[in-house]
Amino acid sequence: MSSRLKLCNAFSKVCQASQAVPTNLKKRGMFMLARSKILAAAIAAAMLFSSSACGSAAPAVTEAPETASMMPETAAEPSEVASEAAPEPAYDGPVGLSKYSEIVRPTFARMASLDPKFKEGQSYENNIWVTEYRDVLGIELDTIWSAEGPDAYNEKLQLSIVSGDVPDIFVCNSAQFTSLVNAGMLEPLESVVEEWAIPLVAENLQADGGEGIRQATIDGNLYGLPQASVGAGAFQFLFMREDWRVKLGLEVPKTMDDLYAVAKAFVEQDPDGNGIDDTWGLGISNKPFETFFTYRGFFNGFGAYMKQWINNNGVLEDGIIQPEMKLALAELNKYYEEGLIDPEFVTKDSMAVSADAISGKVGLHFGEWWVQTWPLPDGVKLGQDWKAYTIPFAASNSEKKLGGVAKLLGRYVVKKGYEHPEALVKMYNLFQERVMSQNYDTTIYKGDGTYDFQGLAPIAPVIGVDRNVYDWGFVTKAVDAKDQSLLAPGNADQIDKFTKVMAYLDGNTPFVEGLTDEQLNDNTDYYNNYRVHYGPEAIMGLLDYYNRSGIFKLDAFYGPDTPAMLDNAAQLQSNAEEMIINIVTGAEDLDYFDEFVSEWKLNGGEQMIKEVNEWYNAQ
């Protein structure tokens, strides 16, 4: 992969995040305090245009001549598909957004949100997407079942498949995808996508270097469309209570030894000044594989990688069994023994730890960038100043690289034999056109605090590159010069970010006494824009640094799940979790790690390594 590709990967992952975060906020998450609009604008901003920092400017969505010329070919194809698919005569837009002359009704299964928000009077059956599918595309989805949340959805989809009753169009996870393809239950989509994808989609499908497409391809045939771009991933940051650090006069930790010293100071020197020993250095959850309040950043600092395969001189191996892991665990155990970690962390999941962090008990933790936008702002409102730093590296770690995961999550697929596979592509196009193109109308398609607009779309592909790092460059320049005209012309998001950063610099901080609730919310919003979007120390600046310096190590395995993974991954992960927790808490001594590794290999790990390397050698 070229470094440019890697860049794109990184961006698109972030882009995916920027999609997630504002919705989290709107859904209020755990903390009602987050009810306000803080940050929504700052982060959601994103995807106004599809031009990219990767250099490829997005063509405007006009009918490309070659796309238009495909029409006759389609019409020439036998069967009623063609006649039905023919656009209305007067239509002159791209074929990928054309309307069926007769309404097409594919069956569909919906993964409903656990707490859906609708605009007044709207519902899953009646909202703007339903109207647009019908009026613009001539498609009426026939939802044969719906389920709330991923667990229920997966369970029902499994049952659907066993009972031979799969919808025409649906989304599935990677393991299901592999099985469905092997069983010949999915329609190949390559030619359909070629014919029907609008240029914007074709472009955005390549934004991750075609990784998403590659992972939706089995034996040379494309069977699915990615739900999101594949990212270099969840790069880790160190989040620190900046106010505590300044108060105690500590240096920013550069090495793991520094980090230890800071954590110790945060515990022993009463950083919150309340005279009570009630603070902890490092916040971690009791589930090492969770995605916030993570172990990953800490492990990366020691050159240990979890949840990813690494390339050891041409041999792929799972990061979890590498000897570096032992160093990281020994250090964590030291933290635990010395009380730098909450002794009760073993019964706290990440939600519980984040509650602790927000109530001002945690000084340090690792996580992905969006933690700054959720849930930390709830703590900011209580006077906490959180700042992200690049992760420190241990002296023993000569490689000094961050881990990254590169796995495609969901794929939109079409049931084998369904007569209108292009209907999927059309809906896919429509979402991209409405939300990711130049024509993105934030007043209609963005949603606000009261309803969740994009989550309503049955087909909602979040592909394309991220705008945040791109905007960061402009905003930083403009703020430094105090000159709004340095922003990209007509970019409402940049103006928004610029204005808010300026407001913060003008002294509108959340850390003064006597603010009304509204002022506090606004100022927190300004503060977060400042922390995320301005200057080399802002998160986007750090991300830019990560990207440019290339100090990351991607998941070396990105093929379809191997049989041994399907069989054993869950068991092995459970064992790994137990090993980590037991060593950290001292229930097992460090040598238990070696025992774990041999058991890991015995219980299917060896087979996994074999299969993964077979895949690797075939690449």
């Binding site: 409903a112 991923p150 109530s359």
Partner: protein
Amino acid sequence: MEENKREFKLMRRRGFSAEYIFDFFNILFLGFLAVCCVLPFINVIAVSLSDSSAATAGMVGLWPVKFSLDSYMFAFQKVRFLLSMKNSAIRVILGVAVNMALTIITAYPLSKTVKELKGRTFFAWFFVITMLIGGGTIPTYLIVMWTGLRNTVWSMILPGAVPVYNVVILLNFFKQLPKELEESAVIDGAGDFRIFLRIIIPLSMPCIATLIVFQTVGHWNDWFSGMIYLDNIEKYPLATYLHNVLQRPNFDNMELQEIQRVMKISNRTLSDAQILIGALPIIMVYPFLQRFFVKGMVLGSLKG
């Protein structure tokens, strides 16, 4: 003699006061148990009546902090919540009716001796075995689908239509009933059906009432069948709805997009309000049915 009498009196008095001491400690102990049982419930009530930020911060104990009825207002505005209450009500009424009818007519023959019902032991085991062995989710789902129940309220009722545990309880109760009653009724010329309806069932009311409580609670609280067999979330019963609202998101291995989908109500005040509203109808079933237990006293005198 005198001495004996005095001793007897003393014993009585001592017994008497011992009885009071026993009563005192008995009530004290049971009262303590009752308090232990009520406290969490009071906590739930207090949380539901508190300001949500106070609740999230874990500041609410047994008394509401910053009293607020918002959650209740909000719960009652939630269409899905009200709808699911209705769905549950329908399910309980239909389900309990079907269950009880089947329990009674199945238990009665099985309470007979082998002489009266040839193959009784076989039939008994036929039912009991289903209590011990199940086929699992997938095949049950397939059967429910093949019999056309999927996405109907019957999918939550018919697969468990014969509650074997209850059948066994009831058949044992039937066995205990005095045979003489039946025999004398036969002599009086009453038909079998009449005996069953007019004598057996009324006599079994304490047991039947108990089983109604079990059954009602079972139907009201079951969430799994709703989630599996129902295709429209609008048809979910309350338990399924609440399960989805309350389940703790499992962030293991969850990628951002999924977190986005799962981030949801962790608003404790709202969920606690919904739990309370949801639990009220079912809690009221018990005191209502308690009077049947008292009526059952009649049985004792008959036996004597």
